[in-house]
Amino acid sequence: MSTDGARARLRAGASGLLGGRARLASRSPAPFPLGPPTWPASVPRPPKRSELGVDYETEWARRYPVRLARAAYNEIVTRPLIAAIAQPSVDGLDRLEAVRAPVIFAANHSSHLDAPLVLSVLPERFRNKTVTLGAADYFFTSQLRAAYFAFATNAVPIERVKVSRRSAQQAALLLEEGWSLLIFPEGGRSSDGWAREHRGGAAWLAARGERPVVPVYIKGTGRLLPRGARRLYLGKTSVTFGAPIQPDLPARHLVARIESAIAALADEATTDWWSARQRAARAETPDLRGPNGSEWRRAWALGPSPKDRARHPAGERRWPPRA
C-alpha cells in the first residue's frame, strides 16, 4: 500500500466523517411522535397562551405530595440554611396564638431573603399552609425558575404594577381554600434601603376574604442581600410579628393602618416595646419611607453600607432612624 494512497483514503474517511457530522448537525428534528407534530396548514393556530409570568399554573405545587416534599425540603434545606445565613431572632409569636388561619402576613421587603426567612420562622401550623405572592415578572420568567419558586416558597405569580382580576381572584380563592398569604405590600424590594409606599392588595384581600392581616417587620436582610447585590453576607436578622389587624375598615384606610403597624413594629424592634408604643400614641413613630430630600441624604440617613463594615465594625443601619 502506498503512503499517498493511504493518505487519500484517510482524507476521504475524514471528510466522510466530517460530512456525516455536518449532516447530523443539520438534520431536522426527530419525526413525530419522537419529535413534535407538524401543524396542519388548514388549521389556524390558536393565539399562543403564555405559560409563564402571571399565567404560570402553580396548582401542582399545592398538591399533597408536593406539599410533603416542600415540607421536607424546608426542614432539611431552607431552615438550616436560613439559620446559618441570617441567624434570625423572632418576636411577637405570642400574638399569633389566638389567630385562626388563614391570615394575610404583610411584611416590609428589602431582600430576596425575606420570603424564605419569614416562612422558616412561622409557627408550624402556618408554615406549610402559606402561599407567597411573588412578582410574576421576576420569579416566573422561565419554567425552571418558576418551578423552583413555586416549589420552594409555594409562590404564586402576581403583577406588581397593576394587579389583574385573575391574580386577585386567584389569591382570594386561595384564601378561601384556607391558605394563608405572605404579601409584601410595597410591591417589590426597596431600591434605596427605605420602604416604599404600600399598595392596596393586602388590604383588598383582607376586606374581601374577611381575614385578619398580621403585620410583620423584617430587619437586617437588606444588609445581607440587598437589591442588586452580587454576593451574600452573613449576619443577624430579626422578624417581629404584630397583633392581627381585623379588616373592619374600608380597604384604603386599612392600607394606611397596615403600613403604620409595620412602622410601629420596626420602631419596637429597633428600640423597645414600651417607648415604641408611646411614640405610636403620640403619632411620632419614625416613617419607614425615610426622610424627604435628595438621594444622598436618604442614603446617608441609612448609615454605613455592608461594604463599609471594615471601617465601621460597629456600624449598623439606622432603619428606622431613632427618634
Binding site: 413525530f32 411522535p33 419522537l34 413534535p36 407534530p37 407538524t38 401543524w39 396542519p40 396548514a41 388548514s42 388549521v43
Partner: protein
Amino acid sequence: MPRPGFVLDVDRSTPPALIWHGEGFRLERLPAERSRVVYAPEPLSPLPDPDEAIRAALLAPLGDRPPLPELLRAGMRLTIAFDDLSLPLPPMRRPDNRQRVIETVLDMAAEAGVDDVVLIAALGLHRRMTETELRHALGDRVYDAFAPYGNLLQHDAEDPKGLVALGKTDLGEDVEVNRRVAESDLLVYVNINLVAMDGGHKSTTTGLMSYKSVRHHHNVRTLQHSRSLMDRPRSELHSSTWRIGRLLAKHVNVFQIETTLNNDTFPSQFSFLQKREWEWGVRDRASFLGASRGLDLLSPRARRSIFQSILAPHQMTSVQAGEVEAVHESTLANLHRQQVVDVEGQSDVVIFGLPHIGPYNVNSIMNPLLVSCLGLGYFFNMYIGKPLVRPGGVVILSHPTPWAFHPVHHPSYIDFFEEVLATTTDPAEIEKTYEERFATDDWYRHLYRTSYAFHGVHPLYMWYWGAHALEYASSTVVVGGNRRAVRRMGFRPASTLSDALEMAEDQVGRDPTITYFRCPPLMLAHVH
C-alpha cells in the same frame, strides 16, 4: 368552551393520525390532498350538580306524565328496569348514572311508602351481569338492599313463566314482555344514552321482551332498511320498536328516565387518545410511545386485561324524565349537541380504527364477529343523512381480529363462526337457514338462562348488524387482522394501511378520496 368537531383536509403538513387497532393504536400518514379526518367535538361541560338535576327532572317530567312522587303510593307494585352492561362504553367511573338515578327514585319510593319494589336488569338477549358488574352499575347501597332478598332480577327472555303476551301490533309483531313488568303499576326505566340508537321505546322493547318479540326488529330486512340505526326517523329497526313500544304503553304505565354523557372517554394517562395529533405535547407523545412500546411487550391477554380495566371519566350532561317519546326527543337533542359533526359529501373509501371494546365484549374478548359488528354495524352507521362512503365504496377496518372467543360469554358464536360462516356469509341466507336452529337450541338456551352466555341467536344478530354496510359497500378490508379469521367473514386482509388503500383502488379506481373517522371519542357524522 369545548370546541365542536370538525373535518380536517389532509395536506403535506398534516401529522400522522392516530388509528385504533384493538388493544393498541398506530400512527398512520394518510395520502395528502385526497384524505380527510373527522374529529369528534370536545367533551361538553357536565351538569354541575347531577343529583339535583335528576331530582328536578323527576319533579318536572316531560310529556303527559305527572311528577314521579304523584305516581308513587303505598301498596303499589313498582318495577325499576335499567340498561345492562353494554352501556356505557367503556364503563364509567363510579358513581354510574344508573346508581344516581335509581337512588333518587328509591328515595322518593321510600317517602311514598312503596314496599313492593323490584329491580330488573334489561338484558334482552345479552348475557347476565355478574355481581361485580351489578354493584358497579347500581352501587353497593342499592345492590345490598335488593339482591339478597331476590328483588334484583335479570330479565330472562326464555323464561316461559316469566313472560306475558300482550298481543300483536298492526303489522303483526308479537309483544311478549317480562311478566313482572306487565303486572306492575309503574315501570320506571333508567337509561344511559351513549349513542343515538339507544333509548326511547327501544329500551323496553329490546331489553325486557322475548326472542319472539325481538326477532321482529333484529332481522336482515329491518337492518338493511335502517339508514341509519343512529337516525331514528330513517331507521326501520326503530319504527318496529316504536310500534311495539306504543302497544306496551297501552298496558304498562312507563316512566322513562334518560341520561346523556359527555364524550370524555379516557383517563388522564390516555388523554392523548382524546386530543388532535398536532396538539400533542411532550407528555402526550411520551405517553403514546410508552403505551405503544409497553403494549407491544405484553401478551394479548395482558393487553386485554389492561384495556378492560379502563373506566371512562364520562360525566352526565343531561337528564330527562317522563313520557317515553317526549323524553327521547329531548335526549336526542342533548346527545346531538355532544356528538354531531357536519361533513360535506361522501368519499370512495372510509377508514374505521376499531377500539378494544364494543357493547358485547365488556370484560370479554372482541371476537371476529364482534369486530364485524363494531365496524360495519356501529361505526358504519354513525351517520345522519348518508354514509361517509359512497355506494360501492370500500370500508377499511383496523383491528387484530384474533380467532379467539370467550367460551363462557360467546358459546354460540364459536359454532356460528366455525360452521355457518364457512358455508355462507350472506345474511339473508343465514337468517333463513340457521336462525331458528340457533335461537331454539336447548344447550344455548340453558347457558343463556343459567350461565353468563349471550343468547344462541346473538351471533346471527351481530352478522345482521352489518347487513346494511355489506349490501352498500363493494368490499371490506381489514388491516392487521388474523388472515384466516378475516377471510372467513368474506373480508380481505391487508398487512398495512398502504396495502389496504392499494387494494381499495382495485374497487374504486386510482387515487380514491378517503375519509378517516377518528372515533372514539364517539361522534355522529351528519353527512350532507
